[in-house]
């Protein structure tokens, strides 16, 4: 069975190109890419009418709330949301309750994902048992069971002895460790970034320096142990020189950032709007611009949705008490396109950060528009305007900061291994 896309703009992050052309899919893989491909016998032909065809998004750090809080998000709802958002691979977080810290728990995730999710699901596992920062998990067994990375998510392993041992052990297996760069002492109890806004609102706040301190500590331990390390979210200008130095020194280090930190700033919280409460808290406009620039230069490798479903009850509270996190699988692309329309990033650069780099970091051959790569694709119109209505989201939780906002750009269709998983009529 083959599938031919005609009349599309091919967004190829590996080559950094945005060119009109055609793309042929055969047996779930990309068979040919070029300006002039004839349709084979019996092939389905999709006329893109000038829309963009890009490698599907690989989203590291998606929270699906199974096990424990299935009412917030299940593999079924997250899978549908991902497909509608052009995300062809979700890399799930282990911060469920209980945490994914044993091979048995990971098998449950694999089983649930296979049964219900239309997109690829790659699970991450906890670095320490119960994410308590005391004993490392069975990293070897968990890798055998399919864990692609190890992380305690937003809980920092405070004991440096425990963390350094886990990093050393992970290195011996070639496992990727994902850290949350943050000084937990300084950030304890904080709901905002310190500055004029937090002062005016009377919110407990954390200095942006806490991120650099966390990153400095992690990078020192990486230098000590030689582990493969990825920082989940770099969101401040002051953390960037440390990252640059580590990369220049040849450490096996990459960094991500979240779509919310790239497109929103602290002032968006306005009158205590809890849907804007994320972790780390939204930053200043200067930090946002520096982060976007770091994505452009490639210093920050990866953009993630940091999809975090929360029900209404955990958000309908005074700001300090409200839960952190925002759903973003379905708004990741239109939000990222704000950076494109603002002329901060071009489309190949965006897909380098959303598709190519995360795939590379996890050792996947996805993320490219090249012969032989899996046909994980998304077709989108970068320009069509719309107003987001959160009631239309496919996630079980609808805690998006973009509700009611004007956005531009929509997914028209998503294919996983050449199979359509989403089509917009």
């Amino acid at each position: 069975m083959s599938l031919l896309f005609t009349n599309v703009r091919l967004i190829d992050p590996a080559g950094g190109t945005d060119t009109p052309g055609r793309l042929l899919v055969r047996d779930g893989r990309i068979a040919e890419v070029g300006p002039d491909i004839a349709a084979p016998e019996g092939a389905e032909v999709i006329d893109g009418r000038g829309a963009c065809l890009a490698p599907g998004i690989v989203d590291i750090g998606v929270k699906v709330c199974e096990p424990g809080e299935r009412h917030k998000e299940s593999y079924k709802s997250a899978g549908k949301a991902a497909a509608a958002g052009g995300v062809t691979t979700i890399v799930t977080r282990p911060d469920t309750s209980p945490a994914i810290d044993t091979p048995e728990a990971l098998e449950f995730v694999n089983r649930r994902a296979q049964a219900d999710a239309p997109v690829n699901v790659l699970p991450m596992a906890a670095l320490t048992k119960g994410r308590e920062g005391r004993e490392m998990t069975e990293i070897g067994f968990l890798m055998d069971a399919g864990a692609v990375a190890f992380t305690d998510c937003d809980r920092v392993v405070t004991n440096t002895k425990v963390f350094s041992r886990a990093l050393s052990y992970a290195r011996s297996l070639g496992a990727l460790v994902i850290g949350h760069p943050q000084d937990p002492g300084l950030s304890d109890g904080a709901a905002a970034t310190s500055g004029k806004f937090a002062t005016l609102r009377g919110l407990p706040s954390v200095s942006p320096m806490a991120e650099r301190m966390g990153l400095d500590r992690d990078l020192s331990l990486v230098e000590m142990t030689g582990a493969r390390y990825h920082a989940d979210q770099i969101t401040t200008a002051r953390a960037l020189p440390a990252l640059e130095r580590a990369k220049a020194n040849g450490l096996d280090v990459t960094a991500g950032t979240s779509i919310h930190h790239l497109t929103l700033n602290e002032l968006d919280v306005a009158d205590y709007r809890t849907f804007f409460k994320v972790k780390p808290p939204l930053r200043s406009e200067d930090d946002r611009m520096a982060t976007a620039e770091a994505v452009r230069t490639g210093l920050i490798d990866i953009i993630s949705s940091m999809h975090t479903p929360q029900d209404e009850e955990s958000k309908r509270l005074p700001y300090e008490e409200a839960a952190s996190g925002a759903v973003a699988l379905e708004t990741l692309l239109p939000a990222a396109l704000r950076l494109y329309h603002a002329e901060l990033l071009d489309l190949p650069t965006l897909f380098r950060a959303m598709s190519l780099n995360p795939a590379r970091r996890l050792g996947l051959d996805a993320g490219r528009l090249e012969t032989g790569a899996p046909a994980d694709l998304l077709l989108f119109d970068p320009d069509v305007p719309f107003v987001l209505d959160r009631a239309t989201l496919k996630s079980k939780s609808q805690n998006t900061p973009f509700d009611g906002q004007r956005m531009q750009g929509r997914v028209l269709g998503t294919w996983v291994a050449g199979r359509p998983v989403y089509r917009r009529n």
Binding site: T199, R201, G202, Y272, P318, E320
Partner: protein, 314 residues
């Protein structure tokens, strides 16, 4: 003249003319409160509920008295003891009370922004009696009335606010109000209690009290919470008193006619010398308490005037 706001949530939303309007009306209540018969019945038939999610004696008593003198039916609810303990959320509590048709809701809550949240869910007028470290508008208004009566104006004054600014809603509301009225504000305290960010709010920040007090018209002392004295923010009570406690010697650096204020309750010998606090020539601390009732009467009357079908003359 009608009042331009439905609620009194903070000073931030008020314009200078709103502030003047409240203070002018409050003046008339100062006179009334000094008479033997203290009743005005502009709130007769209206229901005022005081919801205090955080312990308070002075502010709650002041609001209660203000409501009663205006003829409202006043009910006090000690919220720390009630449904919150049973797991009810703030919004549910608000909706429950709202169903009883109160006209004025006076709310204090330990979290910043909680009173704003509650105000979005109810039909009546809401007065913020202090939310977290965000705002305490009636305190700033009563301080303003006290200053205006002592100094004859609110503009072009140098006002020093001393002590735990970081955790103080009183400080934030006062900074906003005095800024709007075009006075200059100096903040004095150790950097642990006066973060540099306050300079962004248009204030001058001093960690040397003697320097900060030089030539000021008003010295406003803040209470230092007991739980901050444990070495976390300051090394000890006695070192704090030595560097930042107000005594006659430090006050001598201010203008000769400078007044001394304190929102209460005071820690004598921690942030202020006891004798100084009682000096009727310098201290206006008792006046502040008196102005508190008058300002709250004025604020409630103005808000009640905006209630639908109100009998209060607008």
């Amino acid at each position: 003249m009608t009042f331009a706001h439905r609620h009194l949530l903070g000073i931030e939303q008020l314009k200078p003319q709103d502030i003047t309007q409240i203070l002018d009306l409050a003046e008339s209540y100062v006179d009334l409160n000094r008479q033997a018969a203290k009743h005005a019945d502009v709130l007769a038939g209206l229901t005022q509920i005081n919801m205090f999610f955080e312990a308070s004696t002075r502010t709650q008593a002041s609001f209660e008295l203000a409501g009663k003198r205006l003829g409202a039916d006043v009910m006090n609810m000690a919220m720390q003891a009630s449904s919150i303990k049973k797991g009810e959320t703030l919004i549910d509590t608000a909706l429950t009370l709202n169903a009883m048709h109160p006209d004025l809701l006076v709310v204090r809550h330990p979290h910043s922004g909680a009173v704003d949240l509650l105000a979005q869910k109810v039909n009546c007028a809401v007065l913020n009696a202090g939310d977290g470290r965000h705002e305490h508008p009636t305190q700033a208004l009563l301080d303003a009335l006290t200053i205006r009566r002592a100094k004859g104006r609110l503009h072009r004054l140098n006002v020093a606010i001393c002590g735990d600014i970081a955790h103080s809603r009183v400080a934030r509301s006062n900074i906003l109000l005095l800024g709007k009225m075009e006075s200059r504000i100096r903040l004095i305290g150790p950097p642990t209690l006066v973060p540099a960010q306050f300079a962004d709010m248009g204030c001058e920040v001093y960690d040397d009290m003697r320097e900060g007090l030089a030539g000021v018209d008003v010295v406003m002392m803040l209470r230092l919470q007991k739980e901050r004295m444990d070495g976390g923010f300051i090394p000890s009570e006695r070192e704090y008193y030595h560097r930042y406690g107000l005594d006659a010697e430090k006050l001598a650096l201010a203008k000769p006619d400078a007044i001394v204020m304190h929102p209460g309750p005071m820690n004598r010998g921690v942030e202020i010398d006891g004798t100084l606090a009682d000096d009727i020539n310098r201290s206006v601390i008792q006046d502040q308490v008196e102005m508190g009732v008058a300002v709250r009467m004025a604020a409630m009357e103005l808000l009640a005037g905006n209630l639908a079908g109100s009998r209060v003359p607008a």
